[in-house]
């Protein structure tokens, strides 16, 4: 397959325009450039011709092909490169189209795999229809490969049966719209995205241009006038920052839509530049729900999903694009549960004594600040009038800040997930399935050792954790930390064993009729291999095909409820967190506060109790309880 022919002129213009701009810049700096001169026109013409030749060569050299089990790509003019990407390794496929590209009807396709510092395959550009076809085709082929895989791993005799399924059969994938941004939410996303870079930029400009601006400010008038003028300018800057942030958020998330098919999430968004991409469920590493005091008050939150692929749209900022910018908390939670069903977290906070540590930390920071101001007021004339003692007043706020920092920190071990929560101003609740854990670390700094606490980090292959946004239980009791680390490793191994067992049973039963049929779960249990231990419970997704080996919910045979476990889980939200922040201290706070009180003495048992408690709260069949 080749690129779209239109991509040649588009790429030429794209490349040449930047080159021409550079040349013009260089020429204008160079002595006596004559823009009308023959040489100059010739140079630009030459650039155009050269890029045209290069791009034609690029177009001729660039081929891609969807083979049975790999996506092949040959490219390069000077140095040639051929790659084969196995479908099973593809993490996500994204397409982007900016406004010009949409006019010409082309679109860029990026294919991400795990590992590597950059996008594995960049296809610039194919026609929009071809981009969609590629996305779909890769999705189908991935499914085929996954099935193939399961077949070979499973019983041999099932192979004959599954062969009945024609290879060219393309069961229509039913897509279900999970989330569609409502106009009010879009507006809210806009309102809440204050872009702090704008005032920064303005201040930089402003201070740079004081000589020009100062005539506007009436220095001759009274101080009142002066203050008012400055105030107006300040308000103007803030409003501008707001407007810019709002506009960019609205442009980015215009028409945001998240759809789910059997084994993938698909997002679409953007007003001027249209992004769309797919995220296979079985490549999701972690989910994060983010909020801040304002959003918490209003009952809103942000959801983002991480894969191991290099996060799409790096340049545009952080992390994955399959993030729901803002939605009411229950919608976000329902959606998160839809993606990966977790229980009802009841967070276990760090020991209470740690608040004294935070308080000490704040006091120290205040002390340092005061010291700096004081020294400045002594030695710098201009700063002599600075009220250097002002930060000391912060000591009054420090205990409250310490309390809130503690209040919003915690972890929870669910049936299949570890959930951690950190931060007051930007609170992040991270969900990591046990089987996604790569390594488990517990660390204790020299200060943490003084307080006998430690931090446990569950490292995944997710892309956000590169930025230090790990799933971590910070400042938990030392003994707790050790047991948590051991438990996590154990549960990882158990979860993987479960999944293997599940796959074995699935492989032999799932594709009897070649369709993703929810009812398959029951026969799978009935025909369970008697040699298998009960511990490695056979798991079959109730409403998902088995090749998405992801959110298969472990079910204990004795409390077998084949279907609808998920539906139940959805309705049990953790309401206590919906409440506004200030209430949190008494609502969700009280019960867990008691827990943490007990911590000091028998932290480990407590955690255990906590865990089993909350599991029995949920209606889901509990496999995890066995393991304790």
């Amino acid at each position: 397959m080749k690129l779209a022919p239109v991509s040649v002129p588009y790429r030429v213009l794209q490349k040449a325009s930047s080159l021409v701009i550079t040349v013009v810049l260089i020429a204008s700096f160079g002595a006596g450039a004559q823009f009308g001169s023959l040489g100059f026109v010739g140079a630009i013409g030459g650039i155009l011709v050269l890029t045209l030749i290069y791009e034609i060569a690029y177009y001729r050299r660039f081929t891609y092909e969807l083979t049975d089990d790999t996506f092949d790509l040959q490219s390069g003019v000077f140095s040639r490169r051929e790659r084969e990407i196995p479908y099973g390794r593809i993490q996500n496929v994204d397409t982007t189209r900016n406004i010009v590209q949409r006019l010409v009807g082309i679109s860029a396709v990026n294919i991400e795999t795990a590992g590597g510092g950059s996008t594995e395959a960049v296809i610039q550009y194919v026609s929009a229809a071809e981009a969609d076809r590629l996305q779909q085709e890769i999705r189908y082929r991935k499914r085929d490969v996954a099935r193939e895989d399961e077949r070979t791993r499973g019983d041999r005799d099932s192979a004959a049966e599954t062969d009945a399924r024609g290879d060219d059969e393309r069961p229509e994938i039913d897509e279900e719209v999970l989330f569609k941004i409502a106009p009010s939410e879009l507006a809210l996303a806009g309102i809440l995205s204050f872009d702090p870079r704008v005032p920064g930029l303005l201040i930089a400009l402003f201070t740079g241009s004081i000589p020009f601006v100062s005539p506007i400010i009436p220095t001759t008038g009274s101080t009142l006038v002066f203050i008012i003028t400055v105030g107006i300018l300040l308000v103007g800057a803030i409003v501008l920052a707001w407007v810019v942030g709002a506009l960019s958020a609205i442009i980015n998330y215009w028409g945001f839509q998240l759809t789910r098919s059997a084994d993938e999430l698909r997002y679409e968004r953007g007003l001027l530049q249209r992004y769309s991409g797919t995220i296979p469920f079985d490549k999701i590493q972690a989910m994060t729900i983010e909020d801040n005091p304002l959003k918490r008050r209003a009952g809103f939150a942000t959801l983002s999903v991480e894969t191991a692929g290099y996060a799409p749209g790096q340049a545009g900022g952080r992390g994955s694009e399959a993030a729901v910018p803002i939605a009411s908390l229950d919608r976000v939670e329902a959606l998160a549960r839809e993606i990966d069903s977790y229980g009802t977290p009841s967070f276990k906070r760090p020991p209470k004594r740690i608040r004294r540590r935070y308080f000490a930390r704040y006091v120290m920071a205040l002390g340092v600040l005061t010291g700096i101001l004081y020294t400045a007021s002594l030695f710098v004339d201009a700063a002599a009038d600075i009220p250097w003692y002002l930060p000391v007043a912060g000591i009054l706020v420090a205990p409250i800040a310490a309390h809130y920092k503690w209040l919003h920190r915690g972890y929870w071990l669910g049936e299949d997930h570890i959930v951690t929560r950190n931060g007051f101003w930007n609170r992040e609740t991270k969900f990591v399935a046990y089987y996604r854990i790569q390594t488990v670390l517990d660390t204790r700094t020299i200060f943490q050792r003084r307080w006998n606490v430690a931090t446990v980090v569950a490292d995944t292959a997710g892309s956000l954790s590169i930025l230090g946004k790990d799933c971590s239980a910070i400042d938990i009791d030392d003994a707790d930390a050790v047991s948590l680390r051991e438990k996590l490793t154990e549960r990882l191994n158990d979860a993987l064993a479960d999944r293997r067992a599940a796959r074995r049973t699935n492989a032999s039963f799932q594709w009897l009729d070649g369709h993703d049929d929810a009812d398959l779960s029951t026969p799978a249990f009935e025909r369970r291999d008697p040699n298998q231990s009960d511990d490695s419970a056979e798991t079959v997704a109730s409403d998902e095909p088995a090749n998405t080996t992801d959110s298969t919910e472990p079910a204990r045979p004795d409390e077998l409820e084949p279907a609808d476990t998920k539906a139940d889980a959805e309705t049990t939200d953790f309401d206590d967190d919906v409440d506004a922040d200030n209430e949190e201290a008494d609502t969700n706070g009280t019960d867990s506060v008691d827990n943490t009180e007990a911590d000091h003495t028998d932290g480990v048992d407590d955690a255990e109790a906590d865990y089993t408690d909350s599991v029995s709260d949920t209606d889901e069949p509990a496999n995890g309880t066995d393991k304790n």
Binding site: Q438, T439, L441, A461, G462
Partner: protein
């Protein structure tokens, strides 16, 4: 808990010497430029050296590892103690390598890679070359036996 080979201290001390040398050289350049007393860079280098040696010794004391049934467990760190568990199923590949200093004292290290983004490579230093090779082979066998599915 396995401890490292005692000779690893020599490697770390050598590294501390190199680091102190670099710090000293920078300090000397600064001192030369600002015409400060030559004792300042010497002092700085000495302090760096002493801290480096103390850290090397402490690091040796705190280092330990166990290859368990289903995970490698490591303990290390001077100021920040870190304990890592690397599940065997998560091992992507294993290296054994020898740096120049390590070759000098006849040691080697084994590096275990996972797909994780943070502790993606875990180094076990201070092994004799035979031990490093043996560990690599043992880990390989264990990782295969652990039958990890897709590591990501």
């Amino acid at each position: 808990m396995n401890t490292l080979h005692p000779r690893i201290r020599i490697v770390w001390i050598l590294r501390a010497v190199v680091r102190a040398g670099i710090v000293g050289a920078i300090a000397a350049a600064v001192a030369f430029f600002f015409e400060l007393s030559p004792f300042i860079p010497i002092g700085i280098a000495t302090v760096a050296l002493v801290i480096g040696i103390v850290f090397a010794l402490l690091r040796y004391r705190n280092w330990g590892y166990v290859v368990g049934d289903d995970a490698i467990y490591l303990e290390r760190g001077v100021l920040t103690e870190v304990r890592t568990e690397v599940p065997l199923v998560r091992i992507q590949h294993v290296d054994s390598r020898r740096s120049a200093f390590e070759r000098l004292v006849g040691l080697a290290s084994t590096v275990v890679y996972t797909a994780g983004s943070r502790g993606a490579d875990v180094t076990i230093p201070g092994l004799t070359p035979e031990a490093a090779t043996a560990l690599r082979k043992q880990l390989k066998a264990l990782a295969i036996a652990a039958d990890g599915e897709d590591a990501v």
